[in-house]
Amino acid sequence: MSNTILFPAGAELRLRLSVGGNFPYKWQIYEYNGANTPEPLDNGSDGRGEGSTIATASKIEQGVQRRFVWSVAVVSNDDPIEVDVTGQVLDGKRLVGEVKGPITIKKPFTNCFVHLWVEGIP
């Protein structure tokens, strides 16, 4: 089963990351180029409760597949605990699709990667 998210071609692609467990985190999103090399796209953090977790990745053309990966560093001062990490694709405010999985957060911080593919459709 493919987890590739189908997205309307021509619409502005918005990508949102969320980390559960009420942990602050810092992120950098990359896009893979044709040579499968990650190139920095955008970055931010959720460290003051502002929810600044959305990156804009311009538009996507029909039939084209774009591959993204978030590099995330989650800060913790708690005992190890498993939380859900979610990567979402938005068309404006509308949720088009998401990927979700568990990760165990340890103190003082934990790194993780979230891979997400998007394909343009009519």
Partner: protein, 401 residues
């Protein structure tokens, strides 16, 4: 009517090094705690920012009482001084007096399930188990974001609730009884909450960097751990938490626990003890804090060494004032409590008062020396001792802890 009185005192000198651990819980019991009672699990001292006042030194070594009289008073009032001044981190463990147990903190519902299954084997309760977890963090909190925590008070309240379970055993062979308890702890106000500490979080963000991903084609939906942080990076980020915690931040916690006795491990519904605690700390400027605590304990009637002990109610309250400068600290404590028991002839009341003081002096590095004094005054219808005093010295060098 002449009021019977029991008075005992403990004077104690110790040398040591303060712990440099950080805790989000209420501060540890006072260093001036009476040496007579059972020593609780050593709680970490709150971390102090650089250049901050001298942090609390560890309490006295166990078994410091020589006469046994203080021990009797301490037991009579359910370890009044050691357990009243703070809400225990794990109320269930505290209620059954199993502080030596290794506490397991499951990080997922799956792990919790495995631990709970381990509590019951071959139709019997298994002893020597202690579990502590946040019900919210393991369930709804898995997906709850940082923004929600910062902006929503009930999310903070739920996230700070911890549940605890513990079992231990008393007696051996046919006389073995499993003691089990469940408890809840509520951190209602927590000025040491690292999630609300902007300076600590900003410091952590500045100290760490997100690692670059590898090339290749990982499938969509793949969520994998990144590289393990270096020790240096961990140290830098950890330092942010210790450097930006206010030692005398305001806190308020409430705890409760109920225990039951299971003869031979057989499951049965029977309340053995029931306790509630509350404690609060208030910062007084940069160099002082006031700690107030209260405890209520109900102990149901039971057989002890073949003798039926009547049900009893115990209530106690204590206060502690701490003054701390870079080179020295002064601590004053006072408390009182009463116990009511029904011994078939009617309700009988006993009272106890506690007082203490401690001076701590930094002698270089993280070494300190302290002089402590504590005393107890109790009144009961059978006690005939007017006053007893003892001198106790404790010498403990624990540098580098």
């Amino acid at each position: 009517m002449k009021r019977p009185l029991l008075l005992s005192a403990v004077l104690l000198v110790s040398i040591g090094a303060h712990a440099n651990a950080q805790s989000s819980a209420l501060p540890p019991p006072p260093a001036a705690r009476s040496a007579d009672a059972e020593p609780p699990t050593p709680a970490p001292a709150p971390a102090a920012p650089q250049g901050a006042p001298l942090p609390p030194a560890p309490g006295p070594a166990p078994g410091a009482d020589a006469t046994g009289l203080s021990e009797r008073a301490g037991q009579t009032f359910e370890r009044l001084q050691t357990t009243v001044e703070r809400v225990p981190d794990n109320p269930a463990v505290d209620l059954i007096g199993a502080e030596d147990l290794q506490i397991t903190k499951p990080g997922s519902v799956k792990e919790l399930g495995a631990e709970l299954r381990g509590l019951y084997k071959d139709g019997k309760i298994v002893p020597q188990v202690a579990i502590e977890f946040s019900p919210f963090a393991l369930t709804l909190g898995r997906s709850s974001g940082f923004e929600a925590y910062r902006t929503t008070s009930y999310i903070r309240f739920l996230r700070r609730i911890t549940a605890s379970l513990a079992t231990t055993s008393v007696g051996v062979g046919n006389d073995e009884t499993i003691m089990g308890a469940i408890g809840l702890r509520f951190r209602i106000v927590d000025g040491t909450d690292w999630r609300l500490n902007d300076a600590a979080i900003q410091c952590a963000f500045e100290a760490l960097a997100t690692p670059p991903p590898a090339g290749g084609r990982m499938p969509s939906g793949t969520i994998v751990p990144g590289p393990e942080p270096s020790d240096e990076a961990k140290k830098k980020v950890s330092k942010c938490f210790t450097d930006h915690v206010r030692w005398n931040a305001t806190q308020w916690a409430v705890g409760m626990a109920v225990s039951s006795a299971f003869p031979q491990g057989e499951v049965q519904a029977d309340i053995h003890d029931l306790a509630t605690w509350t404690s609060a700390t208030f910062g007084l400027g940069d160099h002082a804090q006031l700690v107030l605590g209260g405890k209520y304990l109900f102990s149901d009637t039971r057989l002890e060494d073949g003798v039926r002990v009547p049900a009893r109610h115990t209530a106690a309250a204590t206060g502690r004032l701490e003054l701390r400068k870079k080179q020295y600290g002064l601590i004053f404590t006072a408390g009182s409590g009463a116990r009511w028991s029904n011994d078939m002839t009617g309700w009988r009341r006993e009272a106890i008062g506690l007082f203490g003081a401690e001076a701590q002096l930094a002698i270089g590095g993280d070494k300190w020396i302290s002089l402590r004094f504590s005393g107890e005054v109790s009144g009961g219808e059978k006690d005939r001792l007017v006053s007893i005093a003892n001198l106790k010295w404790n010498y403990d060098i624990s540098g580098g802890k």
